[in-house]
Symmetry: C2
Subunit: 199 residues, 2 copies
Amino acid sequence: MTSDTAAQPRDIEAAIFSAVDSCVTQWGWDKVTMDDICVTAGVSRATVYRLFPGGRDVLFEAVRLGKLEDFFTAMRANVEGSESLEDLLVRCIVVASSELQHDEHLAMMLATVPGETLGDLTVSGLGRIVRVATAFITPLTDEFIPADEAAHIVEVMCRLVISYYLSPSPTLDFANEDATRTFVRTFLLPNTSSVVVTQ
Amino acid sequence: MTSDTAAQPRDIEAAIFSAVDSCVTQWGWDKVTMDDICVTAGVSRATVYRLFPGGRDVLFEAVRLGKLEDFFTAMRANVEGSESLEDLLVRCIVVASSELQHDEHLAMMLATVPGETLGDLTVSGLGRIVRVATAFITPLTDEFIPADEAAHIVEVMCRLVISYYLSPSPTLDFANEDATRTFVRTFLLPNTSSVVVTQ
DNA sequence: GACACTAAGACAGAAACTGTCTCAATGTCA
DNA sequence: TGACATTGAGACAGTTTCTGTCTTAGTGTC
């Protein structure tokens, strides 16, 4: 790094995040050491610990929060301006599924309780995904249906998204908008009181 | 475990070998522990150490030797009965390339010196592959061309096989016999004195 | 019932990892 | 130029993990 100009802290942080990602992809959470991350990021040990005081746990938690923030930011941006419940649900499903397919660690992040050691995606974590996602999405349905109805339908939707992510179907890809729209009309909307389904 | 009849030692050995393979695929040589292997093989620690006295090094060396044996056995079986130099070279290339493509760790095994820690496939290891393969194949050419000529052409062949394995070409697959035959006629046979190339 | 074999796990010593620290090198800014 | 900030390199102790050996109890075979 003789010829480099001084890197900005933000760049270094990004390099470290990216290193965590590729290290975890290569070896899994359990097997990654701080040195692996340092070497991959091309950064010294001291730098990592200075940027993330508290070490491994703090770093991994930061990565987790970063991913969740990105996820929900993408959700919010894509869902904004939905003009019908159908639209809202379709967009939620498509964005969530796309994000999940795009980032192989995201599901585990969503499923992990803060402070918990990151390992494999466990069954108990699924409930957490459902709760978090339901809590995030339900308020968005306010203008279309009553809250009590929303809670139910949103939970069903979340469960379906997770199920199709964990075990993809050859006949239905939730990242595909048209297919998802048909699915929403068939399975979700009929269960709402205040929406007329037009075919 | 409870309902199983007693497993034969050979079965256990095979299970351990297979566990090494899948563990290494998952985590890489450096990150695999003996416990990983035991758990994956569904076998206790004591059993592994009894079957491979000397522990980790001995086990890994056994895996290495096993793979090399399989490789050269396959080579020998497929090359036997070649009726021309062209035939011999084509078969060598096809078998070697197929085996390499089929087993992702084989190249590293070939490249590793006995006793050396198994890590990544290093550049210095390539020379070893070339030497070993050349030493194995050259004698087989005895009946077709003089030894001094063989040494040269076989080395070129080995280098090409390795190169195409490490960096596959979209236009040529050495596992394909017809394509390989054309290649051999074009690039290898013209350099021999005693063979008439027929198009 | 003797025998062979294994799982489970305790154990000490070795090795690896973590987190903190110091120091020199480098780049920035006044 | 000199004060300041930031980084890389690596030493360091404490902790954790891993290794290889060993003992014990359980199971199936002859």
